[in-house]
Amino acid sequence: MVVPILKQGQYLIASIQAALTDADLLKMRDALAEQVGRYRSRGVIVDVTALDVMDSFACRTLSDIANMIRLRGADTVIVGIQPEVAFSMVQLGLKLEGVATALDLEEGLAFLDQKSRQRSRAPSPPTK
């Protein structure tokens, strides 16, 4: 199952539609890293609303995506983690630390807008 990646202005939205295998997750990761350069995108949203399980591999891949996209000069936000999925992740000990998350697509877009405003005000922040 290939994850469709939509171009929305200066952002990319990866909209997961169904359960993904490890190979599908890695394909999505590579496609995002490539397309962020091709479209000169400023931000990436990964919508996981349709996922009913996020295990250690999925979390590690999402964390890798966020790090790779940051190294490519853009921001990433994961949106739509369902309440029971969040509960399972916490029980399992998966915190997805250092990765931005938002409730849904709308909040995710607002987050990226805010991030790009910050970037345009201070192109090279002295800290972090």
Binding site: V53, S56, C59, E84, S88, G93
Partner: protein, 138 residues
């Protein structure tokens, strides 16, 4: 009257990442049929995912066996992950949070134990590993 306890056992052969997805979907289906909440269903599916992942990672192939159980009027789900892989050299170490020999997150086995009500692991060097977990309906 509550529905009759489904008696059948489901065996899922595990040999690739596709089987991991299939096994956890089968587990969630059974959990739903047994009356588990959607949130417990997510816990069960996540545990199966980690158990099946360990099979693929360390033994390459094995199986997941799912079946309904009943004890003292309580119902639950019984899940076994078994393989004939190399076995786990140091079980105490493998059960430690953050320990991993595969470069993974090291949440696997201790994480699964937290998700389930009962947890048992048997492993013999060179002979394989069997992880048995149970979750009871509340």
């Amino acid at each position: 009257m509550r529905p009759a306890l489904p008696q059948n056992e489901t065996r899922v052969a595990i040999g690739s990442d596709i089987d991991i997805v299939y096994a956890r979907q089968k587990g969630r289906d059974l959990a739903t049929r047994l009356g588990f909440s959607s949130s417990d269903g997510a816990l069960i599916a996540t545990a199966i995912s980690e158990m099946a992942r360990n099979v693929v990672l360390y033994a390459r192939r094995g199986e997941i066996v799912l079946r309904p159980i009943e004890r003292g009027g309580r119902r639950g789900i019984h899940i076994v992950a078994q393989d004939r892989g190399p076995g786990i050299r140091d079980l105490n170490l493998a059960m430690q949070d953050g320990y991993s020999t595969s470069g993974g997150l090291g949440v696997g086995l201790p994480g699964v134990r937290r998700l389930m009500d009962e947890f048992e692991i048997v492993s013999k060097n060179g002979e394989g590993t069997r992880v048995t977990v149970k979750k009871w309906l509340r």
